[in-house]
């Protein structure tokens, strides 16, 4: 399969416009795609609707989009590591919807594999289940959680080939495989682009069928909080 999905950063960024619903991989900054985030900042895109595990840190990963005021809404599990996002939420500048982390991961996966949603009991008996639709299965109550999809998904992979097959790096895998499946258009930022056929077919985490564009990463361009 020679379909070549490797494109320039500029071409990939054409898909991301003002108010795009953008889903991103990463957990506490680890696994957020650094060059795509830089590209979004440089392009001047604003009013984004974001979906992802957390808001990173103010100067790390996806958090940089909050600091630069490019975000309109956020669907996430927590923003505790990003006080700037917290402040914007409190001031009504961004609207934030929270889900338990495991539920969020499954909602995104459900979108990625074409399910309508999932039944989950996490959060029952708490305000996290307030105003949720529930149903009983074999006498037990579950929350009905609809699937989530994005217009554009951005992920960060260690290696990828021209077909879009991806391998992730250690704990930077996290939400990336689900996000890679769950958007109408997926852009993979890859540290090392390898010839098609070089990745072990057993070790490919995201098959290229889910990926539309592959862009070369320039690597993480922020200091980590544990470094400072």
């Amino acid at each position: 399969m020679d379909k070549n999905k490797v494109v320039s950063m500029e071409e990939a960024l054409n898909a991301i416009k003002d108010e795009t619903c953008l889903m991103y991989g990463g957990f506490g900054g680890v696994g957020n795609p650094p060059s795509l985030i830089q590209g979004i900042l440089d392009k001047g895109v604003k009013g984004l609707h974001l979906i992802g595990n957390d808001a990173g840190f103010p100067e790390i990963g996806i958090g940089r989009l909050f600091t630069a005021e490019r975000v309109q809404t956020l669907i996430t599990s927590h923003i505790g590591s990003n006080p700037i996002a917290g402040e914007q939420m409190n001031q009504g500048k961004i609207r934030v919807t929270f889900f338990p982390q495991g539920t969020l991961a499954e909602k995104i996966r459900a979108g990625g594999v074409g399910l309508g949603g999932i039944l989950v009991d996490v959060g029952l008996g708490t305000i996290a289940a307030m105003e949720k639709m529930t149903t009983k299965v074999r006498g037990k109550e579950y929350i009905i959680e609809p699937a989530l999809t994005g217009e554009v998904g951005i992920v960060y992979a260690k290696q990828g080939d021209a077909y879009g097959n991806l391998v992730f790096d250690k704990s930077a895998r996290n939400f990336n495989p689900m996000v890679a499946m769950a958007s109408n258009l997926t852009i993979a930022e890859v540290e090392e682009i390898v010839p098609t056929g070089e990745l072990d077919p057993e070790g490919i985490i995201t098959p290229g069928i889910f990926v539309n564009y592959v862009v070369q990463s320039e690597g993480v361009n922020w200091p980590w909080h544990w470094e400072t």
Binding site: F27, G28, G29, V30, G31, N53, D54, T76, S77, H78, I79, G80, S81, G86, E87, M89, N90, V96, F98, P100, Q101, G102, T103, A105, E106, R109, V120, D121, V122, G123, G125, T126, I127, A128, K158, D169, K170, S171, A172, R173, N174, F175, N176, P177, M178, I205, V220, W224, H225, W226, E227
Partner: protein
Amino acid sequence: MALGDVERQRIARRAALEIKEGMTVNLGIGIPTLVADYIPAEQSVMFHAENGILGVGPSPETGKEDENLCNAGGFPVTLIPGASYFDSTLAFGMIRRGLIDLTILGALEVSEKGDLANWIVPGKKVPGMGGAIDLAQKSRRVIVLMNHTDGKGRPKIVSTCSLPLTAPRCVHLIITERAVIEVQEDGLALKEVLSPYSLQEVVKATGAPLMY
């Protein structure tokens, strides 16, 4: 008032005694993270990190950190033999499936029934529940490590939580700088009073009846 480093370490050391051979354990951020330092080297424990690692090892030496090998708190870690990486759906699949033997986390309030409140302070910004609800509700055993009282000296162990719950009836053991308290069917059982506190100081600082 905030706990000093000596008290934090003492709570962590005491909590480590609750970790048994062969357990799968998830440590929350804050004091719970310190617990790993007190596990005897010969004890085999699988530490689970909900960002996608089973088999977390000790912190790496300075300069040997790998930016892509971090725990859920975002700090560099290492692996032990038998460890594996996986995505967040599998990380939480393990939790929901009830395979985490023990979760150790912090709290704002714990009730005498074992209700846990640790994610919403009314009137303050709510930064989200993260994985706390999943872990608190689904782990086989939940241990809370916290200051016995809040910043104004008011009990954090109460008859009924005033804050919204993270999970009802999930806490099994509470370890503070003053005491070790077990949540039992019929109420809270005071198991240990930690020096230099007296029994009376513990009882007075607890907002629910203690059996002792």
